[in-house]
Amino acid sequence: MRRLLALLALAAGPVLVLGVLFVLPVTGMVSEGFFVDGSFAPGAVLEVLARPRVHRVAWFTVWSSGAATLLAVVLGLPAAYVLHRLALPGRAAVRAALLVPFVLPTVVVGVAFRQLLGEGGPLGFLDLDGTPVAIICGLVFFNLAVVIRTVGVAWESLDPRPGQAAAALGASPSQVLRTVTLPALRPAIVGAATIVFLFCATAFGIVLTLGGVRYSTVETEIYLLTTTVFDLQAAAALSVLQIVVVVALLALAARLRATPDPTAHRTVTPVRAVRRGDAPAVVATLVVLVAMLLPILTLVLGSLTVGDGWGLANYRALTTTGDNQALLVPVTAALVTSLRTAVDATWMALLVGVSVALIVTRRSHSVAERRVRSTLDGFFMLPLGVSAVTLGFGFLITLDQPPLDLRDSPLLVPMAQALVALPLVVRTLAPVLGGIDDRQRQAAASLGASPLRTLVTVDLPVVWKPMLAASGFAFAASLGEFGATSFLARDDSPTLPVVIFRLIGHPGEMNYGMALAASVVLAAATTLVMLAVERLRVPGVGALA
């Protein structure tokens, strides 16, 4: 009982943060729909759920996100293997570059995809523009990096010996993969798939851009209902539906993850030379990389196009405010704002994320304690799965009174971004902390170390490098975050994605070119940050240099 109380006390901080920055705003916005003229009227909300259109929208969301998740996992696995287990030249650079799609503003990717897939584009003959296939491709493009990274890191630290034992027993490489390796990677795969699914299910811009408004997901529908139609009951109904589905999904994922995790005993398997048997995986990875590269290449070429020729004019223009002063601040200033915001978002996400990871991974001594921990684990994943529109408006109507008058605070944007990055941090750190043998902590305690000292001497040395990896991830997520940011950013200090969106929304050839150039700059900045993190990252996790 005392342990349980101590656990709850320890969890109080992060829970309070999430309570104020997430639960309160979402509840506030949802209850706008439940209360009609001041009286509680849930009937109208429930009636919405019976609409055929809502069913259609919910079904499309589930199947398109499901298909995109499946595809991302299927394409991501060989790449995770090749990029994390094989000694290929330039692995680090490729791994860093793979995060680029993750941070590109959807509007830019949308334009790039449409230039490829559109009627006059090089892939126009596929006739995919405006189809669900295009939406799914876009979603996969954005989320592949999540699968490759999460699964790749687990694969790095997977003990190869069970696979060798299986091979010696007569299992062919494909049988080893199916019967030993994939089951061992299941926790990592399920974790990655959960995150990807949540990202897909709440994707917004890419669905609208590539689906050509014919396809609505729950997220786009909430946006439409809230901002255009002002039907808050219907929006509340969809928000509740979204939360219920997300909670169910998280519960399912927790159950699937809760198998003995063979990667818990961290070993670092050295990368090995490529063999003939690796050919299919290497080829698949190359195909995936080329496919990922095409839209990016379109962007780069577009950014170098000046009039009918080539040049760097678009890049030189980044220090200006664009044609007809489309911007209040030059792109370079926005880049600085972006970086600074990302720094803030990163430390916030780390601060909360590390405490959450610590809380959810300590060994439970009772069933009640385990339940509390796994509930907390799921709770902190929620922000990924809940509509940014609901959250954004919720901020405005709930955080407007002292002492919580945050809506004018310059830290609101990094706070919102930190919420999005938090699950990434927790999912990166939890497996590492979970892998520390609790007896090491007990040994430290028996030698007279206080809990804090135990933390510093046992947990921190193991976790500080994975923590760098997590901060890189959080940093990238913050750099690219657009939904919440565009809603909350202040005009005098826009971030780079907001500026890019603005540039592309203003007529003028130079503005369009600058938008593409700015995207390339954003991508390059991300790659550099990730490369720096890669240099500091040890293969596998928990390995001490």
Partner: protein, 333 residues
């Protein structure tokens, strides 16, 4: 049935296995004994097909194994800590290789029952590996390895993760099971007890090379040098006058060096060596003494149980010839 000819495995500039030639007849158990880092595990992995050879060849039943992938060699591999498949139950771990061969499920069930009985784990079918003790896990691993009657079983320190009592018991079982099944086995270990408990033949490996090989007792009786002797469990190597006096007391011709076990000097009224007891400790089998002997200095000795000696007592010691080994003269370097 297994022939290793001039096998060399190199990692970059490091030579892990250096020109090793070994033979293993069908039904035999060969132990490769050596300190950690001597290359024995690499050798085992090379036989399993997990490590490419730099040069040399490995043959099995007359066929060269070069280019035959691990899963087509028909061997079984058993690691130090079992390496069971954590997501499968005991029964499904054991049935793993059978299922790969599409064995009918009735036959699989029967074979699993038979094997679990053989390793003494009947009724453990539905347990997950995480719930088993170390010894139980090793038994399951053994059952899994034996399931399809491999032509060769490769054992990587199969007992060293276990505690002493368990190790002794499992060693006996393992030897019996291997002999009962007529399985040929290649074992690598750093523990001479494990090697003696399981193997018929021994190869001592050091710095990537096999320095001595032969039947267990041959190797044991005549280690090639001091390091080998110490590795095989001899307590010390005596030289010069000390060697001469021990050999003289044993009635053997003089030699420059002799390796002695702890029990080579025995308290005996009629013994030829005079000594003073420093300390005495009773063990279940004998009394262990530390003595200072004339011409030998401080050395270990034993006395039969029931002998009453205390520090300071003067005793006589005789030399047990079966517990020492004369070392050959080292050729000039």
């Amino acid at each position: 049935m297994l022939q290793l000819t001039d096998v060399t495995v190199r990692y970059g500039d490091t030579v892990a296995v250096d020109d090793v030639t070994l033979d293993l007849a069908a039904g035999q158990v060969l132990a490769v004994l050596g300190p950690s880092g001597c290359g024995k595990s690499t050798l085992l992995r090379a036989v399993a097909g997990l490590e490419p050879l730099t040069s040399g060849s490995i043959g099995c039943d007359g066929a060269d194994l070069a280019g035959v992938p691990t899963h087509k060699r028909g061997f079984a591999l058993m690691f130090q800590d079992g390496q069971l498949f954590a997501h499968l139950t005991v029964a499904r771990n054991v049935a793993y290789a059978l299922k790969l061969r599409r064995t009918p499920s009735a036959r699989v069930a029967a074979r699993v029952r038979e094997l679990l009985e053989l390793v003494g784990l009947s009724g453990y079918d539905d347990r997950l590996p995480g719930t088993l003790s170390g010894g139980e896990r090793q038994r399951v691993a053994l059952a899994r390895a034996l399931a399809v009657e491999p032509r060769l079983i490769l054992l990587d320190e199969p007992l060293s993760a276990l505690d002493a009592t368990l190790r002794e018991r499992l060693a006996g079982d393992l030897r019996e099971i291997l002999h009962a099944a007529g399985t040929t086995a290649l074992l690598v270990t750093h523990d001479h007890e494990e090697a003696f408990a399981l193997a018929d033949r021994l190869a001592v490996m050091r710095d990537g090379r096999v320095v001595q090989s032969g039947a267990i007792d041959e190797v044991w009786r005549a280690p090639v040098d001091e390091e080998t002797a110490l590795f095989l469990g001899y307590a010390r190597v005596l030289r010069g006058t000390a060697a001469a006096s021990v050999l003289a007391a044993a009635g053997l011709p003089a030699a420059p060096a002799v390796a002695v076990r702890r029990s080579a000097l025995v308290v005996d009224e009629a013994g030829e060596v005079a000594a003073t007891v420093e300390s005495a400790r009773v063990t279940p089998e004998q009394v262990r003494l530390k003595v200072v002997a004339d011409g030998l200095g401080a050395i270990d000795a034993v006395a039969p149980l029931g002998t009453r000696v205390s520090p300071g007592d003067a005793v006589r010691l005789s030399v047990d010839v079966t517990r020492l080994a004369v070392l050959p003269i080292r050729p000039p370097a």
